[in-house]
């Protein structure tokens, strides 16, 4: 019996893929320069099928990798050529919606936006909104603890998931819930990038749609002035739903791609969205506009309709892809700095552009200090790709030296595992490894991701019988 025989006994032929051409569809996620062809792909429709697959992997000592929609930007869903890729695209049912409990239970392959679409007409929504929300799966969101523009006020995936059914790396199906008394295993699982098991059922919190939403576009001469406005808004005690910033290069790209019509001579634009009870939103909008003017904004536009709001957001949401219009190739970076260091770090990125002759477009979640520098290069020009790599790495160093993080929402995956030791000590990483060993002692669940060097778990040490000596 081989792994293939066993999988073919679990799945009908159309849901086990071994054909090399079809396998190649799955060779990478959104980070396309890491590629591997999986040994085999399965398309389960139930948790039981996922569990059976994982048990086969356990039996043969074969690794497995979960994959949702493959939009990840850190190579998290990069397959193993010696392993099974478990794709959730056939697990797309919304199992229940209960508006009295403000809760929905969904399968992992359901797209992020599908949840909101299922309840929007009744005045509810699912808050985390990654820019990829039309495509990315909720299972992938759980694995990455994905954020989005509106996370400033509402938090990330981890703040909106109430329970999970998971298949453990041993193939057991276990429910973990915020209602469980004891360790917050739910909090540990969310953001674990598929290394602790596979989520097969997800209970999410739904929120009542706000009474009023207003979106402001403010144009500045440069990114420093925009940054100052962000600092002042936060300092004034206002928590907008979102504060996003784009610099001149990002604006140029968005204009070329989707003609978003931002003020032509802006060196930076700020998008500020306020939501909540109408009476509060109105007062806050006036205050935010005053702050923007005081910090040098030369033009402010308030969206008067849903259409106008969508138009303002269109430029921002298309920014990653849009950069393709002004550069043959680019690296999407994801780092975080304390909000008060934004100005300094952006100046540091400017200096890197000069030093290396590499352009960087900045699009970011300014409200929570989450930078998405887009490092532009021409892959046909010799050496440019390497220089872009260096600039991209240096940006992370800037984030770390300012007390920030190497990733705010795209995850570590394969891409940043080597940076982990710059942020964490060996003791920190060994301690995280204890969590890994508790869930996955065999190291079969998405191995090679997140952590820089593979570590073995070993047996649980035996209880040592010390003598209560005369220490004290």
């Amino acid at each position: 019996m081989t792994v293939f025989d066993r999988l073919e006994a679990i799945f009908p032929p159309d849901r086990v893929i071994t054909d090399p051409v079809r396998l190649r569809t799955y060779e990478c996620d959104g980070l396309t320069y890491h590629r591997a062809t999986p040994m085999v792909v399965v398309l389960p429709e139930t948790a039981e099928e996922v569990a059976a697959t994982v048990r086969v992997c356990a039996e043969f000592g074969v690794p497995f990798v979960a994959r949702g929609s493959g939009t990840g930007l850190s190579g998290g869903a990069l397959p193993r050529s010696d392993g099974v890729l478990i794709v959730t695209s056939r697990m797309r049912r919304i199992l229940s919606v209960d508006l009295d409990r403000r809760q929905a239970v969904v399968e992992p392959g359901v797209t992020n936006l599908a949840i909101t679409e299922a309840v929007r007409d009744r005045g509810y929504y699912y808050a985390p909104d990654p820019s990829s929300q039309q495509i990315c799966s909720i299972g992938g969101n759980v694995a990455e603890n994905s954020g989005g523009a509106h996370c400033l006020k509402y938090g990330f995936t981890v703040n909106h998931v109430q329970a999970l059914e998971i298949v453990t790396p041993d193939g057991d199906v276990i429910e973990i819930s915020e209602d469980d008394f004891g360790y917050d295993l739910l909090g540990a699982f969310v953001g674990s990038e598929g290394t602790l098991g596979i989520a097969t059922k997800i209970t999410v919190r739904l929120m009542r749609a706000p009474e009023a939403v207003t979106t402001l576009l403010a144009a500045f001469e440069g990114i420093e002035a925009g940054g100052q406005a962000v600092t002042s808004i936060i300092a004034a005690g206002i928590v907008p739903a979102a504060i996003e910033m784009m610099d001149a290069l990002a604006i140029e790209a968005a204009e070329a791609a989707v003609a978003c019509g931002y003020p032509a001579d802006a060196g930076a634009v700020l998008i500020v969205e306020l939501d909540g009870p109408a009476s509060e939103v109105e007062a806050q909008l006036a205050e935010v506009i005053a702050i923007c003017v005081a910090t040098g904004s030369f033009e402010q536009r308030v969206a008067a309709s849903a259409d106008e709001r969508a138009k303002i957001w269109k430029g921002r949401k298309s920014a990653f892809a849009a950069v393709g219009r002004i550069s043959p190739a680019y690296i999407v970076q994801d780092g975080v700095v304390p909000r008060t260091c934004l100005g300094e770090v952006l100046a540091g990125i400017d200096a890197l552009q000069e030093e290396f002759g590499i352009r960087v477009a900045n699009v970011f979640h300014a409200g929570d200090g989450n930078l998405h520098p887009l490092v532009l290069f021409d892959d046909a020009a010799p050496g440019e790709g390497e220089r872009a790599e260096v600039v991209s790495g240096r940006i992370l160093d800037l984030c770390i030296t300012h007390g920030g993080s190497i990733t705010g929402e795209h995850g570590v995956g394969v891409d940043k595992a080597r940076y982990m030791p710059r942020m964490f000590t060996d003791a920190d990483l060994d301690t995280m490894q204890r969590v890994r060993c508790a869930f996955d002692p065999g190291g079969r669940s998405n191995p090679g991701k997140v952590f820089p060097t593979p570590r073995l778990c070993g047996e649980v040490p035996r209880v040592r019988k010390g003598s209560p000596g005369e220490i004290f």
């Binding site: 409990r101 007062a283 301690t431």
Partner: protein
């Protein structure tokens, strides 16, 4: 007596008991390194340790199976870093929540937790969390925690998270340690995201017959920060909702219209966010629960998280609750099973084994010997 560690140590006494178990010594570390030295020394001698903060909940959950050293964090009570512009604060775990609140209020900010006991510490609040009223809006302690320093039973010092509000690098050990009741290690330092203090706060209180009235409020767009119910063993049930923000008063008045009555005040009702009495149980139920005679229940209709007093036979009550409801005995005497079902218990056991294989950290305080 603690020659080589130089950490302040005194003999334990009845006042230091944890659920009736008296420790032989009390250690008072003053830094992360001192915690590590103490735990290292305890590992060498196989001494069992229980951390203590403000000691307001030290008796909650099971007594430890064994206890030699009470690790008292009361000497670690500093704000280490408060960057108001970042809305972030880093503190030592022994800082009382009330003391922290004072510092933060000076900058017009708060840690949005409702801890009713001024002596309660940050470490205790993380290790033994029990959501307060505003958890509906701001989440629980785990949702506000962005970074942590912990010390494990072998003295290992480990950090996770950081001091930025958004960060997905590595596993979130801080979350894992919330709810751990001192069984995984010691929380030594913690970093939180803060919120601006709201411009105004108004409470709407409303005496009601049943629990259904709150539904209208939750379906409205008035965005209460909390919707609480006080259901005493005898007498009328009260519903109360908190509104925060510059227009809090208008919104509370509008909510009054929705409910068709009630009173709007600038102060919280006296029972707001306080435990209803003993024996105390935690109830999680997402539909209005059945409440037995003689039992009082207080908590959030919005999140389905309540505290209940006066029920000793939890098994009997559980049999009248939906299967996914959870009822756990926190403090006091209970007959039968105080824990009820915990589906993820097998995984918790495995985590415990990896973090504390020799079972020195508050062994047996949680369900299933964890």
């Amino acid at each position: 007596m603690l020659g080589h560690t130089r950490v302040t140590i005194r003999d334990g006494g009845p006042a230091d008991a944890v659920g009736g178990v008296v420790p032989r010594w009390v250690a008072l570390p003053e830094s992360v390194e001192e915690i590590s030295v103490v735990l290292g020394a305890c590992a060498d001698a196989d001494l069992a340790v229980t951390p203590a903060g403000g000691r307001t909940k030290l008796c909650w959950a099971n007594p430890p199976e064994r206890l030699d050293v009470l690790l008292d964090l009361s000497a670690m009570r500093e704000v280490l870093e408060h960057v108001a512009g970042d809305l972030v604060v880093r503190v030592q775990a022994g800082i009382p929540v009330a003391r922290l609140a004072e510092t933060l209020a000076g900058a017009g900010q708060e840690l949005a937790l409702d801890v009713p006991f001024p002596e309660a510490t940050i470490g205790g609040t993380l290790a033994a969390p029990s959501p307060g009223p505003r958890a509906f809006r701001y989440g629980n302690a785990r949702d506000l925690l962005i970074g942590v320093t912990v010390v494990l039973s072998d003295g290992t010092i480990a950090r996770a998270g950081g001091k930025v509000v958004k960060n997905v690098a590595g596993y979130d050990l801080g979350k894992l340690f919330t709810g751990s009741y001192g069984t995984l290690g010691v929380i030594a330092e913690a970093t939180f995201r803060l919120h601006p203090l709201p411009a105004d706060r108004r409470w709407l209180t409303f005496e009601c017959e049943g629990w259904e009235d709150a539904g209208e409020l939750l379906r409205s767009q008035l965005e209460p920060s909390a919707v609480e119910i006080d259901h005493p063993a005898e007498g009328l049930t009260t519903l109360a909702a908190l509104f925060e923000g510059p227009a809090a008063r208008d919104r509370a008045e509008a909510a009054r219209e929705v409910l068709g009555g009630g009173e709007v005040r600038a102060e919280a009702p006296s029972w707001w966010g306080r435990p209803p009495g003993l024996p105390l149980a935690s109830l999680r139920c997402h539909v209005p629960p059945h409440v037995p005679e003689g039992v009082s229940v207080r908590g959030s209709l919005a999140t389905g998280v309540y505290l209940a007093a006066g029920a000793a036979d939890l098994d009997a009550w559980r049999s009248r609750l939906p299967a996914d409801a959870r009822l756990v005995g926190l403090a006091g005497e209970f007959t039968g099973d105080r824990w009820g079902p915990i589906p993820s218990l097998p995984l918790m056991r495995r985590v415990k084994e990896r973090f504390d294989p020799e079972r020195r950290m508050s062994p047996g305080r949680l369900a299933g010997g964890v």
